[in-house]
Amino acid sequence: MNKMKYRRYKDKAFLYLMFLITIIAITPLASIIFELVAKGFNQLNISFFTEVAPTTLDSMLAKSTGNPVKGGIANGIVGTLQIVGIASLMAIPLGVFVGIYLAENSNKKFSTLVSFSTDLLAGIPSIVYGIIAYAWIVIKITDGYSGFAGSVALSIMMLPLVIRSTEESIKMIPASLKEASLALGTSYRKTILRVILPSAMSGLFTGILLSISRVIGETAPLILTALGSQVINLDITKPTSAIPLLIWEFYNDPYLINMIWSSSLFLMLLVLIFNISAKQISKRWAIQ
């Protein structure tokens, strides 16, 4: 009888212990969000979005005269849109095609090799992609730091995610759908592009949004490639700013430290928007 009680208590105690640890493990998230909102929220105003980042000089002058430091992160926002946008334009078509091939030819030797490479790409640290884009683009093509080099680094990072999500979501489509389309006399190309891909759209879209949310906050590869810029720069062959790059600059500059919280809050919001919409899409569009 006593043994029974002991076992029950032990069971309960374990559950409470697990619960306690779970709380501890997710406390940092609460703390991060609290800190970002508390310190960054009141700096999110119009000029934050419309003005470019202040220079150290601006800010020194402002401080010495007692005025608040003016400026925003417009150059970073535009740069991020540009770098991530071009990265997506490269990674999505490529990744979708590779995903189609892998899903359609899963037992070929060539597929195994491509699949293995995809796994390898997914595991490579982002800083290494920075080195690669530096060697391939900064040195060889744009002859200097450039937004395009940043895009290349990010697009290789996105590639495995896009490939896998395409492959997985096409594999979920029942074979009967492909048969139905072919039985109508449809070509293979149109069967894949007009029947299979649209049916797999929710999974595909989710994967794409998640891959964007993963690279949008990447800093390390951009330090080695896009470098940063004090002005809004639309030329992709020139150094370009990005929100994470600005955060890094603000962090390193004692005069600009105030700007880090609003920038980080905004970056976090961007990541969350992509993340949450990815989840919503996969829930809403799910095909039974």
């Binding site: 072919l182 039985a183 649209p198």
Partner: protein, 259 residues
């Protein structure tokens, strides 16, 4: 049933057709048969007898699996279907599958017209509307879905979905309609609706249906084939086969001794 096919009543002439999955493992062995126009021909037999394999070869769906080897000929209007473009064959020979498989990314309207849009055939709006209405009326779905034609992901019952799939096939105006156990996933009421529909459709199309349901074959078909282990054991008028089969094995199957 001679070797010449100038007979106007013949829709398909199957000649010495063999299908192998792997070397020397034949799923269909040397079949000869003529399929008659505007009739329903049922293919029966215990599972694994090769009936679905035979049916799928008729519109060359076996080509999805490169390891399958086919020998022999199937002639349609004097043309060997293995000698012409597979896509062309499939436009003339439609197929409906065991499980209803409407395209989930398309509305009902788009599903009916899928054969046209996917083959890049452009139609005028009026033409499209006319085909959709006509075909959906043919399959008895018009009244049920006419208000939700353009809605995506409408909840159709299994029977409705299967009728939509039949509509999608016949919208292309094929000569022949192949059905691979089209009612095996459906309830009895939906099944009888599909059966009625097929009896009506045979005026316009030649129908070949694979079924594991003997009474279904008896109810709707004029001709029946009985296959066993890849051989075509018996092919005759359905009435004759059900009342007085020639082969002992056919009789055993029909009386439920195996299968």
């Amino acid at each position: 049933m001679g070797n010449t096919i100038n007979n106007n009543n013949i829709a398909l002439h199957i000649e010495d057709l063999s299908i192998a999955y792997t070397k020397d493992k034949y799923a269909v062995k040397g079949i000869n048969a003529d399929i008659y126009k505007n009739t329903i021909t049922a293919i029966m037999g215990p599972s694994g007898c090769g009936k679905s394999t035979l049916l799928r070869a008729i519109n060359r769906m076996h080509e999805l699996y490169p390891e399958i080897k086919v020998t022999g000929n199937i002639l349609m209007k004097d043309q060997n279907i293995f000698k012409i473009n597979a896509m062309e064959v499939r436009q003339k020979i439609g197929m409906v599958f065991q499980r209803p498989n409407p395209f989930p990314s398309m509305s009902i309207y788009e599903n009916v017209l899928a054969g046209y849009s996917l083959n890049g055939i452009k139609l005028k709006k009026e033409e499209k509307d006319r085909i959709v209405q006509e075909v959906l009326e043919d399959v008895g779905l018009w009244e049920e879905v006419k208000d939700t034609l353009h809605k995506k992901r409408t909840a159709l019952s299994g029977g409705q979905q299967q009728r939509l799939c039949i509509a999608r096939s016949i919208a292309m105006k094929p000569d022949i309609l192949l059905l691979d156990e089209p009612t095996s996933a459906l309830d009895p009421i939906s099944t009888s609706k599909i059966e009625e529909l097929l009896m009506k459709l045979k005026d316009k199309f030649t129908i070949v249906i694979v079924t594991h349901n003997m009474s279904q074959a008896a109810r709707i078909s004029e001709y029946s084939m009985f296959m066993y282990l890849g051989d075509l054991i018996e092919y005759d008028l359905t009435k004759k086969m059900f009342t007085n089969p020639n082969d002992k094995r056919t009789e055993q199957y029909l009386t439920g001794k195996f299968g």
